[in-house]
Symmetry: C2
């Protein structure tokens, strides 16, 4: 495709040699170039982020960059980025190069290249970025118009040798002034006229016709990125310009090179070349051939850089995760709120089968702030069902689950802000001794702080009573609350309704404000996990036999319930009414919000059975005598705080008495009411969840 790049190393001083050019080399992380400034190193063409057009200016082929930087002579170019590797390889490279060369030819003929010499050097870049593997396939071309016949080299000398010593001083001064003025510093093509008194003047190409004077030495100068004995690539199109526009035959060129910021007469070259008027060169329609695809290890093949190995694994993991989520948003969920997901703080009460899977699912959805609460240690039987642990976590008595889980989450995704809190959840009906009271009071206040500092709470423990205090705290603080509970082959996943005073001002504790918690649509607020119960939570763990301590649930249940819990949570985050949204039912014709929410319906409760391979959605409203979320309980808690909690913890019947459940049960017993309980077809051991 390109036959004329430097094929022999430069030996430039004899006559009748074809003028050769050292190709441009690309440097693909940063389109600028500068004159060569090192005797051993040629300058690359650098492509930087700012080289690319900004969004606002997306149509312009020239980026809106600041001009005048002496080390950044702009080079316009075109980037073709393909969507697939196949498309990358299938690009018609010959015609792409011709297209770019046409622009140069056009600019020479319209005179634009004389007005703004920067357009003489162009680049073309084709690329495919495999953002999954962090490998970038690319191929640069620096289109150069081919003179036919080629120019002949008459003489090539060091500038220091070619110029008289007076001229050396004068040319140096003129060049340094040109390079130091912000108006001309990045103008890479120019000409120098040296008067008979050796005074050198540098001028813009557009001044060529005006500044012809006899008896003057005239050299065409250009910033030469090359350090070798042959001139650099930019000279090629400069020759084409000079030949076709001004029809000169014998030309002197100054290959301008620098050292330490000043013109370097030792490395700069003065070249005399003969241009044989090419056939048809003045014919605007007859575009000369172009060459310029960059070689890769002497072969015409594309380059590939794999950044994965050199990148920080954590940053790679973050990019990979973001990529996945952004693709999901792009392809399927334009309204996916990744910022909200990455900033929402989730508190998981329980780091067992459910807790492990919920944490994993949250991370997969882009949640980055996760706190796990558990006071247990990893037992030998855990890793098979609790997906964050391995056998290593079980040795020497077992690590604390909360800490091991947080560590495991970081091994999966190091940028997650995962914390483990080793603590017990105080439970109603588990009386405490005076000695234990201080630690229970501490646990209550620690749990209060945790709920307060998080946006959403997942209740994932193995007993009913351990869900009571977090349910109450969430109802009082009005946090998004999701419960998942398992039976042997059935599960329940639900979101708790807003708290009884959720629409009221924070500190109000009037019992009469119950109605304020109706949803925006005026509906009754949704119930919590305890709203359907007619018994207060009490100690269910004492005297548990081994089989009662261990998981007796079908293994498939926990991943299903955990996944649904997180999907429900993400739905809440994306629903216009958030946690106030009414409960939808599968196949309900219209959703509560009018327009269809992006993630689908928003059920209140999802119950599923592996026995029947079935799943159903239910709605249950809040109960006025709920032991965890009714206004009586929440306002009593707000009034008395820890004193109230200690009462509930120490006196098994306190909550039932307070809420009127005691009375209710008595009347129920005397009338033998047939309870219309939605949970009828469910196992009693709904909450028999692995520890």
């Amino acid at each position: 495709m390109a036959q004329e790049e430097k094929s022999r190393s430069g030996c430039g001083s004899s006559s009748s040699t074809i003028l050769q050019f050292v190709p441009f080399n690309s440097l693909a992380d940063e389109g600028f170039y500068a004159p060569c400034s090192h005797s051993q190193v040629s300058n690359h063409l650098r492509l930087l982020a700012e080289s690319l057009p900004t969004d606002e200016n997306g149509q312009s082929s020239m980026p809106a960059i600041s001009r005048g930087n002496r080390n950044r002579c702009p080079v316009p170019g075109t980037l073709y980025n393909t969507n697939t590797l196949e498309a990358f390889h299938a690009l018609d490279k010959k015609s792409l190069l011709k297209e770019e060369a046409n622009k140069i030819w056009e600019d020479i003929h319209t005179g634009r290249a004389v007005e703004d010499s920067a357009v003489l050097s162009r680049f073309l870049l084709i690329s495919f970025a495999d953002l999954k593997k962090w490998s970038f396939h690319y191929w640069f071309a620096f289109p150069a118009l081919v003179l036919d016949p080629p120019a002949t080299l008459v003489e090539s000398k060091r500038a220091s040798e070619w110029f008289t010593s007076e001229e050396v001083k004068s040319v140096s001064m003129a060049c340094n002034d040109w390079r130091n003025s912000s108006l001309t510093a990045d103008v890479p093509f120019f000409f120098i006229s040296i008067a008979s008194n050796s005074h050198a003047t540098i001028r813009h190409l557009k001044d060529w016709e005006a500044c012809q004077a006899d008896n003057q030495k005239v050299l065409f100068g250009f910033y030469d990125p090359c350090h070798e004995k042959d001139p650099g690539w930019p000279l090629r199109n400069f020759l084409a310009l000079i030949s076709s526009r001004w029809n000169l035959k014998s030309v002197h060129f100054l290959c301008y090179r620098e050292s330490r910021g000043f013109m370097d007469m030792e490395s700069s070259l003065v070249i005399e070349a003969l241009i044989t008027a090419p056939q048809g060169l003045n014919d605007h329609q007859l575009v000369p051939n172009a060459v310029g695809w960059e070689k890769n290890k002497n072969k015409y093949v594309s380059r590939c850089i794999n950044l994965a190995k050199s990148m920080d694994p954590t940053r790679l993991a973050v990019s990979a995760a973001d990529l996945n989520l952004k693709l999901m948003r792009w392809r399927a969920l334009p309204s996916l709120n990744l910022d909200e997901l990455s900033s929402v703080k989730c508190l998981l009460i329980g780091a067992g089968t459910l807790g492990c899977q919920v944490a994993r699912m949250l991370m997969a959805w882009g949640v980055r702030k996760i706190t796990l609460v558990d006071n247990g240690r990893v037992a030998m039987s855990n890793p098979l069902r609790q997906s964050l642990y391995t056998l290593d976590d079980c040795l020497d008595g077992g690590d604390f689950k909360a800490l091991a889980a947080a560590k495991s989450l970081k091994r999966i995704f190091p940028a997650v802000e995962a914390k483990g809190e080793v603590m017990a959840i105080p439970m109603p009906g588990h009386p405490v001794t005076n000695q234990e009271e201080k630690s229970v009071v501490d646990d209550c206040s620690r749990l209060y702080d945790l709920v307060d500092s998080h946006d959403a709470v997942f209740l994932l423990t193995d007993t009913r009573e351990s869900r009571w205090l977090p349910t109450l705290l969430c109802a009082s603080a009005n946090k998004i609350t999701i419960t998942a509970a398992l039976g042997f082959d059935s599960f329940l996943v639900m979101r708790h309704g807003p708290g009884p005073f959720s629409s009221a001002h924070a500190n109000t504790s009037s019992i009469d404000m119950e109605n304020l918690a109706r949803t925006d649509k005026g509906g009754k607020r949704l119930g919590c996990y305890f709203c359907n119960d007619v018994v207060a939570p009490t100690d269910s763990t004492a005297n548990r036999t081994l089989d009662q301590q261990c998981t007796v649930t079908r293994p498939g249940l926990a991943p299903i319930a955990s996944s649904l819990a997180v999907e429900l949570f993400v739905s809440i985050l994306h629903h216009p009414d958030g946690m106030f949204a009414e409960g939808d039912i599968t196949n309900s014709t219209s959703s509560s919000s009018g327009s269809e929410p992006p993630l689908g319906i928003m059920p209140h409760q999802i119950r599923g059975s592996l026995f029947h391979f079935s799943q159903m959605t239910l709605v249950g409203h809040s109960s006025n005598s709920c032991t965890a979320c009714c206004s009586t309980v929440v306002s009593e808690y707000r009034k008395k705080g820890i004193e109230f909690l200690l009462q509930a913890i120490n006196h098994p019947t306190y909550l039932e008495d307070l809420t009127g459940l005691t009375e209710l049960k008595e009347s129920a017993n005397s009338f033998k009411l047939d309870w219309d309980d939605e949970r009828d077809d469910f196992d009693d051991d709904d909450d028999c969840v692995e520890i």
Copy 2:
């Protein structure tokens, strides 16, 4: 509770000292005892697995063990094993000991103790085994009847000093004979009469009344487990027997001890004791007090051994896993076939989001033989959704998924037999060059071998066409086959029906045998993943853009589909008709097998939607023009083997032509039939599953 155990160290030769006894020590991993056989070490009472009654003999208090072992003198005992630690501590230890002592008292009074002296030494063991933490709480008691007033020690001498040298020979010989006869070796209580000619004779206690003769020295002998200067614990009840049964006042005892298997006159003791007739000792109703709870570091507390730390973690993990599964069987699923689960060999095609979760679920159900097939490497975006990988697996280009997954499974459960096979699945419509042909042929035969050597195959890849070859191989080999496939927010889980020749003899390939594959009930066989399709699988991966290469499914989908796939698989294993079972539908009143299968219904297909939080079961029968499982295809494959496969791989329309789908599509197009396709309301990208 017990006040009389040795409180001062033995100084036994002065008169008027209360006779003291060295308590028995228990050794709790192996109820036997033997005479002391080491001068520095007393023998323990050993409790072995064979000490416990066998199931067949569960009612007997004496185990059905072989008698006559000289080092295993049986000691009857009672083991109380509680279900909870609370129950262990709450046991009434005083009355338990009294109860056991009553048995001894009863045996003394009925004469049973004279007939079978082994019942004089009894033990009582209370225990609680925490099999989750591998800690064992236990407390031994060796009930001893307390003489009141206690016996007085007159004299204690080494046997070598007490006997005359002639008697030493004679007694040694008699004792050694007694110990060497299998009839008497394990009879720990006896008496020795020494005639005036120093001839010693040993006799059973039952011979006492018959063998009284004047002028004879008589000593009561017993196997003494103790090596100290005081006699061992068994002497206590022996004293009670002698005192209450024969009313003797002054008695000589031989504390029989051994060295290297022979009587040791140096360590054996002869003790003279005076028994003051206890008040009421002859009154059968008045049971004397009993002592005997073993001390733990000089305190009356129970012992606890924690085996976890000293056990091999792998064995612990196996026990823990077994415990979990056995508890599940015991509590909820008596018909759970753990042997079948642990021996079934599962082949997972695909080790991505689905493969990882399916492998985890299989392990949780007790499946121990898992092979994963995948040719990909772990990418940075994988660990967040593919639950067997961590960031470490992504470094340096990423490990092969199949191998990393197998390694990860072992970290979770080291006893799993997990293997990874790095290989590509040959796919129809992906033409191969001549060069590639060999490796494709190899892959086909490797996959054939893998399917052949496994019992069940899970299809968990991300393209339709990669499921074709395994589906065909499974249909031909009649393997249990489960498919899981994901859309953006919907999934399909299904079991393939049996192959078209499944009821026929292995080598038959007649096309007319289609009918043989009807299920036992005479129904049509269930369809495979391709039965509903009217296009043959073809290359869907070429020119995939980045978003098409990456997972675009809601994160919750894969764990749900994977869990359901494994639950469905376990249901098949437990269904009386196995893979031949007809397809059930949720809420179908009666199951196909008549009696309700233990794990619930056996659907053919389960489709679920996260958008609607819904799930439904469907039945689809096999198609006569299915490109993967119809008799035409399977018999063609059986006839031509690899030649057939290469045709299908290289010619995109070959399968459609073969099965008549081409014709069908043409007629469909000309008539514009409205396809009654069950998949209508499903996304087209059903099988867009993460790699």
